[in-house]
């Protein structure tokens, strides 16, 4: 990582110097060890503060929405999940591909500060180094080596796309998708819930939703939530009130999840930022699982020219709705489309 950091900086400097791009989206470091945050570089001299470390978890693709109406050319550094998000924004016609230069960054995972704190590795911490699949936590008087997967975010543990699926230039070498997640693991949380009774499921979700403080961080961090104005924010429509009321909490979460159905890249950012630890990934993955089972395997963000599952249909789609003696049979007489 340390090696690549210099390469990244060099790329960014060159891109700004040659006017290939007007602005570079990358990360910068704050006061604390875990504090890497999105930064916007327009001047070559500022690039010195650009950082690439194990805490650059923020997805920069979403910031491209800001530039959709300008004629600026933007350089963006993207990890595997960020590249999926980028494709999704292109597919949704929210970002134009030709305005962006993508610098791909293979990423084997990002470190969860909470896990570091739980392990008490942050006491007197001066530096964190990465060597292959180990992380070395260096304090004044000692070094502690920890297998990286022990401190990675849960969402990174079974990353299926550690290498960017799209890029103009790749920085560094590709990494192997080690913990490739087969569907049985990926959807295990969903399956567990599906097997419960209706009442048990309600109890679970009621408990989850009622924790919500409605800060909207899950929505705002989501790269699939790219509407100019969110329906929840439109006070004329009164779709959602501001009261902490159980029914409104449920309304918000169900509609949020449903609105990104078929467009959710399963990056796990919503669960990561949730201050109340609501299992949002179990909602998103339910929809992904159903889409896969009903309409065929689909990974949002893989192919920007693909049709979104809810934006298309097939004549032979499953139909479980109808009852009674009449109807229910698939009608083949019209083969429009």
């Amino acid at each position: 990582m340390e090696k690549i950091r210099e390469e990244i900086k060099e790329k960014a400097r060159q891109a700004l110097a040659s006017k290939e791009v007007d602005v570079i989206l990358a990360w910068e470091k704050g006061e604390l060890w875990y504090d890497s945050y999105p930064a916007f570089f327009t001047k070559e001299k500022d690039i010195d503060s650009l950082v690439w470390d194990s805490f650059c978890v923020n997805n920069l693709s979403k910031y491209l929405l800001e530039y959709t109406m300008t004629d600026k050319k933007i350089g963006v550094f993207v990890k595997g999940c960020d590249a999926l998000a980028f494709n999704q924004l292109v597919q949704d016609n929210r970002v134009s591909r030709d305005k962006v230069v993508l610098y791909g960054l293979p990423c084997s995972g990002m470190v969860d500060p909470d896990k570091v704190r739980t392990k008490n590795l942050n006491q007197g911490l001066t530096e964190i180094k990465k060597s292959k699949d180990k992380l070395i936590f260096i304090t004044k008087d000692k070094e502690i080596t920890v297998p990286a997967h022990e401190v990675y975010y849960d969402k990174c543990l079974h990353c299926r796309y550690p290498n960017p699926v799209t890029y103009d230039q790749l920085v560094g070498e590709t990494v192997a998708a080690e913990g490739v997640l087969d569907d049985s693991v990926r959807f295990s949380g969903v399956k567990e819930l599906e097997e419960l009774s209706c009442e048990e499921r309600f109890e679970y979700w009621d408990g989850q939703f009622s924790k919500c403080i409605r800060c909207f961080a899950c929505r705002n961090v989501c790269p699939a939530c790219s509407c100019k104005q969110c329906t929840f924010d439109d006070s004329d429509l009164e779709v959602l009130g501001k009261a902490r009321e159980d029914s409104e909490d449920k309304f918000f979460h169900l509609i949020r999840a449903y609105h990104v159905a078929g467009r959710c890249i399963d990056c796990g950012e919503c669960s990561r930022v949730c201050p109340q630890d609501i299992s949002l990934e179990k909602l998103n993955r339910k929809l992904i699982k159903d889409i896969n089972e009903l309409y065929g395997e689909y990974q949002a963000g893989l192919d920007p020219s693909a049709k979104a599952p809810l934006g298309t249909y097939k004549l032979e789609d499953a139909d479980s709705f109808t009852v009674g003696e009449k109807g229910g049979k698939k009608r083949e007489k019209n083969s429009k489309r």
Binding site: E199, R201, F202, W205, K250, A261, K286, D317
Partner: protein
Amino acid sequence: MSVVASSTSVKNVEEFEPLIVAFCCNWCSYAGADLAGTSRLNYPANIKIIRVPCSCRVNSNFVLRAFQRGADGVIVAGCHPGDCHYMTGNYYTRRRFSLLKNLLEYVGIEEARFKVDWISASEGNKFAYVMNDVLEKVHKLGPNRKLRDSRWKR
């Protein structure tokens, strides 16, 4: 097809009177309701019909909002696949509401409370049957407390 009439005869004020909201597509299901009426088929007064141009006009918000504000059951009815007045609308309906139905079940809402069905203009019988069927099931389930806004007064 027999028309279930038992649940419609519930007139006791003390007893639970379900409220069902039915979103009916203008071209098929709404006409189906008309036919049920002109054919003097019995379907309960608990069903409140909202006419929509096409079943795919029904946003998932509408369904949840109905549940929030008083509905004990929600029905979305459209033309049979292949018969859509706008050629393809109900194919989208089919995908969207397959997912929504599963999602509602997943968060613990009783399956019978949300019904999607295809009812053509000539299916007055089926219209009455579906309405009665949903009402009966919802009646058994009791009032919707899971999604209703606690501040809402019936």
